[in-house]
Symmetry: C2
Subunit: 420 residues, 2 copies
C-alpha cells in the first residue's frame, strides 16, 4: 500500500471524456490498494476565459476578486472528477481549498501556501475515499477569502498536499510523457530523461522548461518529495500502479542527486523567448548607480535576470544591459524613466526580440570547460552572445531570438544529448 | 437612507457589458446614500452548461458534487460585479455562500436556507461597502459543503438576505418590467400590475408564472419583506433611487393586501404547460385506495397537483385522474406499476399534452360566482375541462394543451383585465 498524489493538468481534464480517462488512472491505483489524493487543474481554456472576463471588467481588478472568479475553474473539475469516480463505483469526494483548508499568504493572485491541515484529508483517505482536491487555490485565513497561487500553481498544490499527507510519490500527469533533454518540437532527437535531480529540474523550470512550475520543484526539493512527470494520455491500464519503495521507471522521476547513479555533465538545454532586454547607455559611472537602477525595479516587483555592465568608450560613462520578463517591459521602462531624477541622464534601448538559452547539468560542478565549449560552439555558428549568467549547474546566454533554435540544436548535439 | 437588496438574474448579468449596466443601477442607489446588498445569479446559460457536464459525468451524480460544480457560476458573476463596481469607484466586495455564511439544510440540489448570519454583511455595509453576494447557494454547516437551493433559488437568496439585514426593500431585477395580468406574449393586451398581494403572487408563481420563484414569495410573505419586480434593462439613470418609507411606483410591488387600496376580483391569469395527466382506470373501489396510490408517489418525492375521482360505469370500480410535473411522468408511472401489487389491477393512461390555466384574485374570497363564470366562458368556446382544483383565491382547470392560449385570452377578457 502506498499513499499517492496524482495531479492532472488542464489538457488532461479538458472535457468530461478526458476526465473519465483520468478516473481510469485513479481506479488503477485504488484497485492496487493505494490511498489516493487527486489534484486537478481547471479545464484547459477555462482559466483563460475567466481571466479575459476579469480584464474586460477592469484592467486593474482587485486581486481578491480576481481570485474569487478564476478559482471557480478548479471547483468545476474537482466536482466532475468526484462524480465520474463515484459512477465507476469508487468512493470519492471533492475538496475546495477552503474546505481542506489549504491556507495561503495574503499575496492574492500569486499567493504561497502557508500550511495545509492534512487531518481531514487523511481521515477521508483512511476511510477508503479518494480525495479530489482543487489545485491552484487556497484560502487566506485572516479575511477568509479565496487566494490563487498564480499560473501553474496546481503543481505546487500537488507537492504541498504530498507533503501534508506524507505521500510516497507525487505523480504529475501532463500531456508529455516526461522531462526531455530539450523541447522535442525543436530537436526531434531530444531524449526523455528517466531521472533528473531536483537542482537540475529547478534550473530547467526557471530557464524556460514548462513541464513543472518552479515553486513546485523548490517545494519538492526542500521536502524531498519524490515527484514523477507522466503522460495522462498513456492508456491507464498499460501502466503499473505505484508500489511503495519501488517506483516504476516510467516518465521522469525528479529525485535527489544521490539516487541518480551517473550524472551527466549536461543533462538538458532549456530556452525561453519571454525575456526582454533593456540597455541603458551613457550612464554616469558613479558609486551606487546599480542600486539606484535596480532598487526601483525591485520595489515595483519586477524581476531582473541577466545583468551586464560595460565601461563606455569615454571612460566616464557606463552602459548597463539586463533582462526582464517581456510582459513586464513597458512597466520596467516606465519605472526607469521615473527614476531618471535619481539615476541621472541616460539613453534607453529595449528589445523583446531576444531568447535565453541555457545549458544545465549537475555534472558541471566537477567539470571545467563547459562554458568555454558552449561559447565556442555558438561563435562557430556566428551567434552573438548579448549577455551571460551562470549558476553552479547552469550557463545561460542571451542571444537574438532568430538564432534560438539553431543554438538549442547545436548545444544539444555538442553535449552528446542527441538520441542515437 | 435605506437598506436595499438588489437581485439580478441571469439575463441581467449575461456578459461583462450587462454587468456594467447592473453596476450603474447599483451606483444610483449608492449615490443616494443607500446601503446596498447585491445578489447575483450565474450568467445566463452558465448553469445549463454546468448541469450538462454533470449529466455527462453521471446521470446519477452525487447531489453534493452537483452542488459544488453548479455553484461556481454565481461565484464568477459575484466577483466580476465587485470588480466592475470598484472600477466605477464604489467600494465593494464579493461574498460566497460559505463566507457569509448562508446556512442551508442538507437537501443538496434543493436545499432550504436555515439561517443567515447577517453580522459580517452588516459590518461591511456599515463600512460603506457594497456586498455582492452569490445567489442560489449556501453552505451545509455539518459537513461544511456547498449546497444549492434549486432552480430560481437566487430570488429566495435575495429575500432571505433582505430579512437578515432588515432591508427596506428587496428589488428583483429581471428581463421584464413587472408582473403582468398574464403572459404578454400570449395576450398583447396584458397589463402590468402596479401592486400585487403576497397571496396572489404565491398562487401565480405556483400556477406557472415564472417571474418570481414560489419559495421566495413565501419567505417574503412570512417576513413581510416588501419586494419589487423591476427591469434591469431600463436605463439605470432613468429610475429614482429607493427612499425609505416612500417606494416609487415602478415595476410591480409585492406587498400585504392591506396596502392595496382596491382589490380586483381577478388580478391575473396564469398557465403552465409542464404538467402531465395520469389516469388510472378500473381501480377497485375499496377504502384506502387513494392512500395506496398517493403514498408511494409521496415517498418518491413526486408532487401531485390536481386530483379527480369518478365512479366507473359498472358501479364497482373507480377512475382516478391526477397531474404531476411532466418531467416526473416516467418516474411516476414506474412507481405506480410497482405499487400494483398493493393497489390491485388497473389500466394506466397518461398524457403530457395538457395545460393548467388558473384564474387568481384576492377579491374572489368575497365574490361568489367566479368559478361558474369561468366554466361557462370555457364551455362557450368548446373547451373541455379535464380536472379542476381550487383554493380560496384561485381556480385552476386542466385542459388540452391545444386550447391553452385560447383559454387564457378568453379569461383575460371576461374578467376585465384587457388594457383599454
Amino acid at each position: 500500500m502506498a499513499v499517492v498524489v496524482m495531479k492532472f493538468g488542464g489538457t488532461s481534464v479538458a472535457n468530461v471524456e478526458r476526465i473519465k480517462n483520468v478516473a481510469r488512472h485513479v481506479k488503477r491505483e485504488v484497485d492496487a490498494g493505494n490511498k489516493v489524493a487527486v489534484v486537478v487543474s481547471a479545464m484547459s481554456g477555462a482559466t483563460n476565459q475567466l481571466v479575459a472576463w476579469v480584464n474586460e471588467a477592469s484592467p486593474l481588478a482587485d486581486k481578491r476578486e480576481y481570485d474569487a472568479v478564476v478559482a471557480s475553474g478548479e471547483q468545476v473539475t474537482a466536482g466532475l472528477t468526484a462524480i465520474v469516480l463515484q459512477d465507476m463505483g469508487i468512493k470519492a469526494r471533492s475538496w475546495q481549498g477552503w474546505q481542506v483548508p489549504i491556507e495561503t499568504s495574503e499575496a492574492h493572485g500569486s499567493a504561497r501556501i502557508s500550511g495545509i491541515a492534512g487531518e481531514a484529508l487523511m481521515a477521508s483517505l483512511n476511510a477508503g475515499e479518494v480525495a479530489v482536491i482543487t489545485g491552484f487555490q487556497g484560502v487566506e485565513p485572516k479575511a477568509n477569502r479565496i487566494a490563487t497561487l498564480g499560473r501553474g500553481g496546481s503543481d505546487t498544490s500537488a507537492v504541498a498536499i504530498a507533503v501534508a499527507i506524507k505521500a510516497d510519490v507525487c505523480d504529475i500527469y501532463t500531456d508529455v510523457d516526461g522531462v526531455y533533454t530539450t523541447d522535442p518540437r525543436i530537436v526531434p532527437k531530444a531524449r526523455r530523461l528517466p531521472k533528473v535531480s531536483y537542482e537540475e529540474m529547478l534550473e530547467m523550470a526557471s530557464s524556460g522548461s514548462k513541464v513543472l512550475q518552479t515553486r513546485s520543484v523548490e517545494l519538492a526539493m526542500v521536502n524531498q518529495v519524490k515527484t514523477r512527470v507522466l503522460s495522462s494520455f498513456v492508456k491507464p491500464e498499460d501502466m503499473a500502479p505505484v508500489r511503495a519503495g519501488n517506483l516504476e521507471n516510467i516518465g521522469t522521476i525528479v529525485c535527489g542527486e544521490d539516487e541518480i547513479v551517473e550524472n551527466q555533465v549536461v543533462s538538458g538545454i532549456a530556452y525561453a523567448r519571454d525575456e526582454a532586454k533593456i540597455t541603458m547607455l551613457k550612464l554616469q559611472d558613479k558609486p551606487g548607480i546599480a542600486a539606484r537602477i535596480f532598487g526601483p525595479l525591485a520595489d515595483a516587483s519586477i524581476n531582473v535576470d541577466m545583468i551586464v555592465q560595460n565601461v563606455a568608450a569615454d571612460g566616464h560613462h557606463t552602459d548597463m544591459t539586463f533582462t526582464v520578463q517581456a510582459a513586464e517591459l513597458p512597466r520596467a521602462l516606465a519605472v526607469l524613466k521615473a527614476a531618471m531624477v535619481d539615476i541621472g541622464e541616460f539613453e534607453l534601448q529595449s528589445s523583446a526580440d531576444v531568447a535565453k538559452v541555457s545549458v544545465i547539468g549537475i555534472g558541471m560542478r566537477s567539470h571545467a570547460g563547459v562554458a568555454a565549449h558552449m561559447f565556442k560552439a555558438l561563435a562557430d555558428k556566428g551567434i552573438n552572445i548579448l549577455a551571460i549568467s551562470t549558476s553552479e549547474i547552469k550557463i545561460s546566454v542571451l542571444i537574438d531570438a532568430a538564432y534560438a533554435e539553431l543554438a538549442v540544436r547545436t548545444l544539444h548535439s555538442i553535449y552528446g544529448l542527441d538520441a542515437a
